[in-house]
């Protein structure tokens, strides 16, 4: 037993809770076992108990600071859930995007704004100021003259080309009409000869065809006629043979009747 108590005493002496464990004990949030151990320890260590009590007293003093009342409900503008923040910012982004587009367009097209003592100017391309009416008129005249000169030069060039072509044509007509006539004539004759040959060849072909057809028809007809004649002879022959047989039969009958008559005469 004495050993048990000294062991227990040794255990108590060896156990020293950490500051964290003391805080958990102070707020009653340690486990039951820890609470018991720390309680025993504090009983055995009055100074530690006093120190912890001082912290607890501090808590009591802090508890004197009450809550401040809140005058009315806090006004909170709750955004609609499900509606993204993007929906809120969309109109502003749209305006900013439109402005950016306008600025980009203006920059690309050299749209410019200018304010001088003469007034406010805006427009596309570089704004030129300061040209007087006479200068503008002179510029227009110059432009017009240049256009006319270009046109005239073009017309002259075209005229030269046309004249050249007419000359060539005239020369060809004047210098060699006979040759042209002869060539044309020969060409015509050649064409006619060709046509004639073509026709002749065609006629020969036609005649040849006719003769061949006639020959073929004639032969066929001859054969048919021969066949008819043969058939007629056959018929005649058959008829003749038939008659001949009939006649022979009659002769036989006659012969027999004659023999019978003779016989009868003999008997008489």
């Amino acid at each position: 037993m004495r050993n048990g108590k000294s062991q227990e005493k040794t255990f108590i002496m060896s156990f020293k809770p950490t500051d964290e464990a003391l805080i958990a004990y102070l707020y009653g949030e340690a486990s039951a076992e820890e609470m018991a151990q720390i309680a025993e320890y504090l009983e055995a260590h009055p100074k530690e108990k006093e120190r912890l009590q001082a912290l607890n007293d501090t808590r009591m003093v802090l508890g004197q600071l009450d809550d401040e009342p809140l005058s009315g409900d806090i006004a909170i503008d709750l955004p609609i859930r499900g509606k993204s923040e993007w929906a809120y910012w969309r109109p502003f982004v749209a305006v900013a995007a439109s402005l950016l587009l306008l600025l980009t367009f203006a920059w690309q097209t050299n749209f410019g704004l200018s304010y001088t003592e003469d007034g406010f100017y805006m427009g596309y391309q570089e704004i030129d100021q300061g040209l007087s009416t006479d200068q503008v008129t002179a510029l227009i005249q110059q432009e017009k003259q240049e256009t006319i000169d270009q046109f005239m030069a073009y017309m002259r060039e075209e005229k030269d080309t046309l004249n050249q072509k007419f000359d060539v044509l005239q020369a060809s007509i004047n210098e060699q009409p006979q040759l042209i006539y002869a060539a044309e004539k020969q060409a015509l004759i050649d064409d006619m000869m060709g046509l004639s040959n073509q026709l002749s060849a065609n006629y020969r072909d036609i005649l040849r065809t006719l003769v061949v057809n006639f020959s073929n028809n004639f032969e066929a007809q001859r054969i048919e006629d021969l066949q008819n004649i043969q058939a007629a002879f056959n018929q005649l022959e058959n008829a003749t043979i038939g008659n001949q047989l009939d006649i022979e039969d009659e002769l036989i009958r006659l012969s027999d009747r004659l023999d019978a008559v003779i016989a009868s005469l003999n008997n008489k």
């Binding site: 805080i23 949030e29 912290l55 808590r59 508890g63 600071l65 409900d73």
Partner: protein, 200 residues
């Protein structure tokens, strides 16, 4: 602490009435939390409004209704940090702002009385509150947050750890040093449990 489990579930499903009820239930708590932290009404209101706007926006992401309380305080804590950063960029230190003349006189008078070493001197309510606010303001930010959450908002050590995204041991450690600092500070001002209007 307000009980709001069924409201949380309804609010997560988009019930606007439930959301407004939640705000009504918790606005005083968050406001006082921020007020004790900043000791400034405007900053406390700013943080409170932002907290509930964020709550409305992110409530669907809350996985467990039971963790609503530390989750809400985490949002408020983050906005407190943000507000401090914002103020520091303006070269305004919120806890060194000039107090009103009356407050200064109160504090000075009390501190003078204390130096006479009269343990029986009693403190008026307003003077005591002013001193307690000042004492809190002397704590480092992280210790101050832990003390406010534990002593005034009633969060458990585990909940504070979740709200501040630190370990429980860190919470306990900060509390230990914060209470020690506060005890020392209050003892300097001779503010003890015995000499305040306090009934056991």
């Amino acid at each position: 602490m307000p009980s709001s489990d069924f409201l949380i579930t309804a609010a997560r499903n988009g019930d606007v009435v439930a959301i407004n009820q939640l705000i009504k239930l918790w606005q005083k708590r968050i406001y006082n939390f921020a007020l004790k932290y900043f000791n400034d009404h405007d900053q406390a209101m700013e943080v409170t409004q932002k907290t509930f706007i964020s709550m409305n926006k992110n409530l669907s992401k809350l996985k467990d209704d039971q963790s609503f309380k530390p989750w809400l305080y985490r949002i408020a804590t983050n906005y407190c940090h943000e507000e401090v950063r914002r103020q520091s960029k303006k070269w305004v230190l919120p806890f060194m702002k000039v107090h009103k003349k009356e407050d200064q006189q109160h504090i000075a008078a009390i501190e003078q009385v204390d130096t006479l070493g009269n343990p029986e001197s009693a403190y008026g309510n307003q003077e005591l509150k002013a001193l307690l606010k000042k004492a809190l303001s002397t704590l480092p930010e992280e210790q101050r947050l832990v003390v406010i959450m534990k002593e005034y908002e009633g969060l458990k050590l585990r909940e504070i750890a979740v709200a501040m995204e630190i370990s429980e041991n860190t919470v306990k450690s900060r509390l230990y040093y914060a209470l020690g600092s506060l005890r020392q500070r209050l003892e300097e001002w001779q503010i003890t449990r015995e000499n305040i209007h306090y009934e056991l």
